[in-house]
């Protein structure tokens, strides 16, 4: 198991190298290599998670190490999907290192179980975890795409077409891809929150308990809801949407890490270290 995870991490790191080499050298085979390495890593990663799940009888999210590993898995998976759909070739320099970094952190953290395993034995729980994690990975990618959008927009606006201008796709594609990530991410986040409520009701007898994580997740959700609403009604697209997507990632990171370290609550145990 440990070996599988180490291999996965190494593959993600190699994939990062491939994508960066592609960025500089612009050779097609480097891009393909980056993608192939990431995909292989993802397959091994999935196998590892599946084996762990079968071995302990529930999703492996007992501590920060395991949750981070799941984050890396979701990032790699969602990125590969987005890439196959939108062909933003340089997005790999954002997603692959992110997944690799998360995995490196995960491998450095202690692996003792902190949370009570009885909490995990529910289909609602599985749905809650998977949709929140995959949704957040999609939102993280939306932030990355937003970053690329800002870089490309700046190049066109200032008329200084530098290193990135040639390597980045059109503003339209970046905007569309960012929007797609946002829609997927927001939908899954909504599903995740809803199943979370149901699950909370089932074990604690109430939907909402002002747990800091719940509050911040609510704030995150509201932020993205506003962004989507503005886009649909007045056409918040381009620069403003990109900036909001990046801000969203900040809030997301805070919700994921900051809340656990700064506040207490019933989510803390899952990310204890």
């Amino acid at each position: 198991m440990q070996l599988l995870m180490v291999t996965t991490t190494v593959l993600y790191l190699l994939s990062t190298v491939g994508y960066f080499l592609y960025l500089f050298l612009q050779r097609e085979y480097l891009h393909r290599a980056g993608t192939a390495l990431l995909l292989t890593g993802l397959v091994l990663h999935s196998a590892g998670l599946l084996m762990e799940t079968i071995a302990v009888g529930h999703l492996p999210v007992k501590n920060l190490s395991e949750t981070l590993s799941l984050v890396g898995w979701a990032l790699a998976g969602v990125f590969l999907l987005v890439q196959s759909k939108f062909r933003i070739k340089v997005l790999g320099i954002y997603a692959a290192p992110l997944a690799a970094l998360v995995m490196v952190f995960a491998s450095q953290l202690p692996r003792e179980t902190a949370a009570d395993a009885s909490l995990f034995a529910s289909a609602w729980f599985v749905l809650h975890i998977l949709s929140v994690f995959i949704g957040e990975a999609a939102l993280a990618l939306a932030g990355g795409v937003g970053l690329l959008y800002l870089i490309q927009e700046r190049a066109i606006k200032t008329k200084k077409r530098g290193f990135f201008f040639r390597r980045l796709p059109s503003l339209d594609l970046l905007d569309t891809a960012g929007y797609a990530c946002l829609v997927i991410g927001f939908t899954l986040l909504t599903v995740g929150l809803a199943t979370g409520f149901v699950y909370a009701k089932a074990i604690w007898g109430r939907f909402w308990s002002w747990d800091p994580k719940e509050v911040w997740s609510g704030i995150t959700w509201l932020l993205y809801a506003v962004l989507l609403h503005e886009r649909l009604t007045v056409g918040w697209r381009g620069r403003r949407a990109a900036i909001m997507a990046i801000v969203g990632v900040g809030v997301l990171l805070f919700t994921f890490f900051g809340v656990n370290f700064l506040f207490k609550g019933h989510h803390v145990r899952f990310t204890q270290w």
């Binding site: 066109i156 059109s170 594609l173 056409g235 403003r240």
Partner: protein, 422 residues
Amino acid sequence: MTEILLIGMNHKTAPVALRECIALTGGVQAEALKSLARRPEVSEVMVISTCNRVEVLLVTDESDRAADAVRQFLAAESRAPDADLAAALYELRGGEAVRHVFRVASSLDSMMLGEPQVLGQIKEAYRLATRQKSTGVVLNRLLHRSFFVAKRVRSETGIGDHAVSISYAAIELGRKIFGSLEGKKVLLIGAGEMAELAVEHLIRNRVGQVQVANRTFERGLALAERLRGRALRFEEVSEALGEADIIISSTGASEFVVTRDHVRSVMRRRKNRPLFFIDIAVPRDIDPEINRLTNAYVYDIDDLKEIIEENIEDRQREAIRGERIVDEAVIRFRQWQESLDVVPTIVALRRKLEGIVNEELNRTLGGLDSRSEAERAAFEKMTHALVNKMLHDPTVFLKGDGCHGDRSVYLDVTRKLFKLDE
């Protein structure tokens, strides 16, 4: 000694006034080929004539006489004073001529580095020469290699990348904003020639509806008809901004035709869909402040020119890599040409036959039980004699006068028949 010879002039050595005195195009080119090919000292010939160059490429056994003949011929064809013509002509022989042909085909010698038309023109000239049967083994090989080199240079270097004209630069930018230009709506303000050209390029990129707004409605109407678009009255411009995606402006107005407030007011109605302004008017038509609004992009004529200059610099950098590919091809071609000499061909032929004979001899002798040194020597002597006798006539033929005129044809056939090039 057979040699490749090239005599001609191009945009670097001759001004256009001189080049146009001697344009060998159409029927003239065919006639020129015929009369050149008839000369006894010329064994193969073709004529390349584009607006930037006139070149005669030939294969000859007597370079000096052939060169004189070509110079005389060009002087007779041209209406320019002989002294001017003589000063403009360059003469390249052997490897230098080969390199020149490769460079011309790869567009490394073009006025606009990397322009793709020259290859087509050379192909056309070559087709004409083959139809006249004025080319032979050497030129056929040279031209096919040059097409190959040109393709390599184009695909392996960025020499043809990135726009070097205003219209293309605008389209390249448009693609970076909109992705595909397909279906994008174009608004043309004013009716300048350059603007019209840009719109034509856009139409070739399958943009959607084209609208033309001109101060004199009638002129706008005529232009709209030419572009198969719709004419607008000049007052309708601000209204049309709500719909258009790409705006090309080239009026003679002294003030801004589209102001920041115009655009700001339509942006909401457009739901912030991007607007791309291409301002090719001097003085400018489009308020440069518009570029500060989100989702609006303004490029004026200077911006576009700057892009073009940068791209030309890029092409020059890429050209250096192209030269390397050419160098490589020149060396390969020389090797091939050297192999076409009589001696190496005969040596190669002998080596091949001896190889076969020795192999079979060893096999046969190995299978025999009893054999003495004397027997072995006798066998070897016999086979050696066989090879010598078999090669005698072909050797005499290739060395002697048996090949009428073009020896290289027979050398080439020999090499192909016996697969000597592998």
